[in-house]
């Protein structure tokens, strides 16, 4: 009788320990202040001179003083490019009183079809304050290379990544496609606070 009670008690203890381990996961996660991929140390973003949406020659360095959200895409895209531009528009609007500190920058991967007017029509659908760049293939190729953008199929297949450049003109963070807009907003606010 005593033997049976001991066995039952032992079984109960074992089951209890098993339940504790199943419910409690001891794996620790790394803590990160930023949601995007941090570029450390920050290095100057590659400057370029291309044609803007108004048909004028303009450089990236002229936009210093703002947080730049740079995205490469093409204006006739029906999925990833407009989706990303919509996310960037949400990011800018989500900055509330800091909205003027952020600037969306669109750079074409399809020089054959993306004329300045086509770029203007495209970016105005999302945020009229955005700046769009296009140019000839020979103008754009070095920019793609500097930003690690792979372009294939006449620009329709390309790397999708958002680059965050700080007001001093340094690459600071990058984001995967379909990132949560609030996460990017939180990161920009951290940078504004001096982190």
């Amino acid at each position: 009788m005593i033997k049976k009670i001991v066995l039952i008690a032992l079984s109960c203890i074992v089951l209890l320990i098993a339940a504790i381990f199943l419910l409690f996961n001891p794996t620790k996660r790394n803590e990160h202040n930023f949601n995007g991929s941090i570029i450390e140390p920050p290095v100057p973003a590659a400057d370029f001179t291309l044609t803007n949406q108004d048909g004028q020659s303009a450089s990236l360095s002229e936009l210093r003083g703002k947080y730049l959200l740079i995205f490469f895409g093409f204006t006739s895209c029906l999925d990833e490019c407009p989706a990303t531009m919509a996310i960037l528009s949400q990011v800018r609007n989500g900055l509330d009183e800091n909205v003027d500190q952020a600037q969306i920058v669109f750079i074409s991967t399809d020089p054959a079809r993306d004329s300045p007017s086509a770029v203007k029509t495209f970016i105005d659908r999302f945020d009229p304050t955005s700046i769009g760049f296009t140019g000839s293939l020979s103008d754009l190729q070095p920019v793609w290379k500097d930003y690690g953008v792979m372009v294939m199929d006449s620009g329709e297949t390309h790397s999708i990544r958002v680059y965050l450049v700080d007001p001093e003109g340094n690459w600071r963070l990058t984001y995967a496609p379909a990132s949560n807009p609030q996460e990017i907003v939180d990161d920009i606010e951290l940078l504004i606070k001096g982190y």
Binding site: S11, L15, S37, E40, P42
Partner: protein, 155 residues
């Protein structure tokens, strides 16, 4: 029950020891260096970085670019002379597009770290059902065998 736990413990710990040290270490930052001259070697079809790295959940991959051009790895962009980090929070096998391999793909294997708690959990999960089965066996089989040993009663 105890016999079941003992057998499960021997099997589980034997398997754990045979898999080596890589599955039990705590999360850490793992550096992957893209050395100078990588772009030239890659354009010549040479592989520079060993593929098939194994990571633990919670690890951080730090990609350090010592090359003269920017490199990319999945969501990461690493300008020359800088680094970028990728948190690996989910156990999965990843194959990211990258610029530092001739195949333009680089694979990562992210595994669940085997902490002492996980090892005990494994022993209990295997040992308890085995112990219960042995208990049932002892209740059903032993009395049956004992019945065979009863000598026939003399008439």
């Amino acid at each position: 029950m105890l016999v079941g736990l003992l057998i499960a413990g021997i099997v589980s710990e034997g398997a754990f020891q045979s898999m080596g040290n890589t599955i039990s270490r705590p999360p850490q930052i793992v550096e992957l260096v893209i050395p100078a001259g990588t772009s030239e070697k890659v354009s010549n079809g040479q592989s520079v970085v060993a593929d098939g790295m194994i990571f633990m959940v919670g690890d951080t991959l730090e990609l350090i670019n010592q090359d003269s051009i920017a490199h990319t790895f999945g969501p990461l962009f690493v300008p020359p002379g800088s680094s970028a980090r990728l948190s690996l929070d989910t156990p999965e096998s990843l194959a990211f597009s990258c610029s530092f391999e001739p195949s333009q793909y680089f694979g990562l294997d992210v595994r669940e770290a085997l902490s002492p708690g996980t090892r005990i959990k494994g022993i209990l999960l295997a040992g308890i059902p085995m112990g219960l089965l042995l208990s049932v066996y002892s209740v059903i089989a032993w009395p049956f065998k004992e019945q065979k040993k009863i000598p026939p009663t003399p008439k």
